[in-house]
């Protein structure tokens, strides 16, 4: 017999979470963590109670965007997420700092299960989950635990390399019956004076969305202002263009 009580612990801990928004991508480096964090922040600005969970266990980066260093505290229920700019926030980086994260196979599965089993979220309208790229253990375990309350926002860039890999993720999400609410094409264009430049050539996002029956495509700009804000430790929502885009994404996921 092999009954792992952490599944029931996770169900209990997620009991007060009304909806989970999984921000996922096929490839790394497409801006998923920035979008997940910005989405969480704008939802909070719109008056929702929001949590942000960084599940990119090999390369967490949402902490850098939020500029947080606090540690969670423990109690009889497990670990209490920290408050980060009004968000309930949890990331492995709060527990292990800059230590190397050399997790493999079974360890990854158990670790993700433990994160869900030990983190006691308060009453949340939305838990935004920043998933690692790809379709590995972290993604599969998350889908297992959150399938009844999850919708997905899938992020890609217009490069053919990203689009082909993201198709595998879209297939997985479709097979697991997760609603893909929006396909986000990040770095879709660059504004230069009065011109709009499509850096990767013609976009195929709409074709891909149609293939999987995804209702909405959101194209986001490559905006150098964002990097400046991040380097200064300021909120990405200080960029008006980015804020408008994130507001649109928030409207889509809450509609």
């Amino acid at each position: 017999m092999y009954l792992d009580p952490r599944y029931e612990m996770a169900k209990l801990k997620l009991g007060k979470v009304k909806k989970a928004i999984l921000v996922a991508s096929g490839k790394g480096g497409v801006g998923k963590s920035l979008i997940a964090t910005s989405l969480a922040l704008i939802l909070k600005e719109k008056g929702f109670k929001v949590g942000l969970l960084d599940l990119d266990i090999h390369g967490p980066s949402t902490n850098l965007i939020l500029r947080v260093r606090k540690k969670p505290t423990g109690d009889r229920k497990g670990l209490k997420p920290i408050n980060a700019n009004g968000l309930e926030y949890m990331s492995l980086t709060l527990l292990v700092g800059e230590k190397p994260l050399a997790f493999r196979g079974e360890t990854k599965e158990k670790l993700v299960l433990s994160i869900f089993a030990e983190t006691s979220w308060d009453l949340l309208d939305f838990l935004v989950v920043d998933l690692p790229p790809g379709t590995g253990d972290e993604v599969v375990v998350t889908l297992r635990l959150l399938r009844e309350k999850a919708l997905a926002v899938v992020v890609t860039i217009p490069s053919i390399l990203s689009l082909n890999v993201v198709r595998r993720l879209l297939r997985l999400l479709t097979d697991e019956k997760i609603l893909i609410r929006c396909l986000v094409e990040n770095m879709s264009y660059l504004r230069y004076g009065n011109s709009v430049i499509e850096l990767f050539g013609r976009s195929e996002a709409y074709t891909l969305a149609e293939e999987f029956g995804i209702k909405d495509v959101l194209k986001l700009p490559l905006n150098p202002e964002l990097e400046e804000l991040l380097r200064r430790g300021e909120s990405p929502l200080l960029s008006q263009e980015w804020k408008r885009c994130m507001s649109r994404l928030a409207d889509l996921v809450t509609s």
């Binding site: 009580p5 209990l12 505290t73 423990g74 190397p100 433990s114 994160i115």
Partner: protein
Amino acid sequence: MHEWSIAEGIIRTLVSYAKERGLRRLIEVEISVGELSMLDVGILEEALRMLSEEEKMLRGAKFTIKTKPVLFRCNICGSKWTLRDMKSSLEKEAQEYLLEDEEGGLDLPLHYMPDLVYAFARCPNCGSRDFEIEQGRELIVEKITSER
């Protein structure tokens, strides 16, 4: 102190196991706890005893908790070692990361997530982080004796 949360998880697991199989009462339950989770078995036993009294099908059930020692094996040099062998180096590595509980106590992050050992430990012989946990990470219900 999260032993209470684990006990609650175990009780819910048992209740759902019994309901799925139409069992009237669970008489004896064996639980295996890996040493790596650094749980206080006394608190876990107490929590199980108290919480099980609230569930009719578990009232009076006997809980046996078996603690499994940890054994690590290095994938590079083949060395094997125990938690005791590296406890002081582990505590040193993790001292900046201790987590405070509601009573002011401090716990290693491993207390909550045993697999985080990979962030803090290295092979005591060759220093590699590429090692296996051969045993001692589990937290499972291993055996249930029931009555229909």
